[in-house]
Structure formats: C-alpha cells, structure tokens
C-alpha cells in the first residue's frame, strides 16, 4: 500500500512542479 501511495504522491508533486515552472516561465517572458 505504501508504494501505491508514494506513486500517487510522486505523480501529483511532479505535475505541480511542472505547473509552477510553466507559470513562472510565462511570467518571465511577459516581463512581470
């Protein structure tokens, strides 16, 4: 069960990191 929970958590964390990085890059390009 632990490995299953870790898998789901890793998936969520990876996508949050990607999302934050993408928003930050867009703001940088827009000069904000």
């Amino acid at each position: 069960m632990t490995y299953a929970i870790i898998s789901y958590l890793v998936t969520v964390v990876l996508w949050i990191v990607w999302g934050l990085a993408t928003v930050a890059r867009e703001r940088s390009l827009r000069g904000e």
Binding site: A4, S7, W15
Partner: protein
C-alpha cells in the same frame, strides 16, 4: 505578423483544466475504492496512474513526431512549438512511468529494475527524449527548429519498439493480456480519460510559452536599434 495568443485560447484552457483536474480527482477516488487484486494486493492500484501515463507518453511523442514532419514541410514556427511543447509534457509523463514502474516492480517482481524488453526500450525512450531537450536548449541559431524536428522524427522509431516489445522479445515480465473485473476496468478507463484531458490542458498551457517567446522575438526585431535616428557623436 505579430504572434498573439487567440482570445479563445484562455477560455478553452481553463475549461480543459477544470475538466482534467475534476476527472483526475475522480479517478484517484475510484482507484481507492477499486477491488484489491488477489495476487499483488493494494500495490496493483498503481496501474491506474502508471498505464494512463505510459499511453499519454506515447501519444505526446507521437504528436511531436507529426508536428516535426509538419514543421519541416511548412517551416511554420507553430508546428515546431507544438512539437517541443508536446515533447516536454511527454517527458513528465515518461518520468511518472519511470518512477511508478520500479515502485510497482519492487512489490510485484521483488526487484526495482530488470533489463526486460519493455523496461529497457522505455528507458531508451526516456534518454532519447531527454536528449531532445538538452540539444534543443543548447541551440540558439536558426537551425534549432530544424534539428529539433529531425530528432522528433528519428527518435519516434523507438515508440513501436516500446509498444511491441513484449511480443517481439522473450523474457518480458509485462503480461501480454490482462483480465480485470468490471470495476477495475472502469476505473482504468476513467483514469485514461482523465490523463488524456490533462495532457490536452497541459499542452495548451505549454503552448502559451511558445507564443510569448515568438512575440518577444518579433518585438525585438521590430523595435528600432537604440542608436537609430539619433545623431552619432
């Protein structure tokens, strides 16, 4: 022409994000409620995020392949932007697969990693497309788009190998056929739908960077040079 993001883009993006996040939340909830597989136990629930992510990886790199061909045929920057954006999202999905796979294997096969056909071909896939981003990021010349497109086409050769690896080579630990009870099958299908819509939402979001990058390049070339129109000392 000054590249600008179409007005409908943001509206469609928000609608897709709302649908994707709602469906992902529903798929997680369904996964928690799905029957526990007899042989593997609760760890088998990884299938509901592992398999959809693997299929999304192949679709994302397939889009990169098609968009790369379209760029070489038309030289339209938007095709190159689509290829690079889809490739980046595919890399995140592939990384999810590369992390959840060993976690599942440790419990199911009693090993973190084994050089069986599907794992080996998928690792090669991950390395190739990581190389795509490294090479693309290192190039600043006009040839960047052309070289990226060539990589997007050439690296696609590995995708059928990943897909067919369990049929073409012996020693695969991945099952060729999987039978599931209806509740499990429905949960997996909802997971696939959720992550496909998530891919579409992420692709629209990532494409915004390409629009902004192109708009900045356009404004840099359109703006007069600092010394232009002034008397030289």
């Amino acid at each position: 022409m000054n590249p600008t993001i179409p007005r409908w883009w943001s509206g469609l993006g928000k609608a897709l994000w709302a649908a994707a996040l709602a469906l992902v939340a529903i798929s997680f909830w369904m996964a928690s409620r799905a029957p526990i597989e007899v042989q593997m136990g609760p760890v088998q629930k990884i299938v509901y995020v592992h398999v959809p992510s693997a299929i999304a990886t192949l679709i994302a790199f397939g889009v990169t392949f098609a968009a790369s061909i379209a760029y070489l045929a038309t030289k339209d920057w938007r095709w190159d932007g689509l290829a690079a954006s889809s490739c980046e999202i595919g890399m995140v999905f592939a990384t999810v697969v590369m992390i959840t796979g060993p976690l599942w294997a440790r419990s199911a096969w009693n090993t973190w990693w084994t050089w069986e056909p599907r794992l080996t071909t998928f690792l090669i896939l991950w390395i190739l497309y990581a190389g795509y981003h490294v090479v693309r990021a290192s190039l600043r010349s006009e040839s960047r788009r052309t070289i990226s497109s060539v990589m997007g086409i050439v690296f696609f050769v590995n995708l059928p190998l990943v897909w067919k690896s369990i049929e073409w080579w012996r020693g695969s630990l991945h099952p060729k056929n999987v039978t599931m009870v209806p509740e499990m099958r429905v949960t997996l299908l909802v997971g696939m739908a959720a992550w496909m819509i998530f891919y579409a939402a992420a692709l629209l979001q990532r494409l915004r960077l390409e629009w902004h990058t192109e708009a900045r390049a356009f404004s840099d070339t359109a703006a007069p040079a600092p010394s232009e129109g002034r008397a030289q000392p």
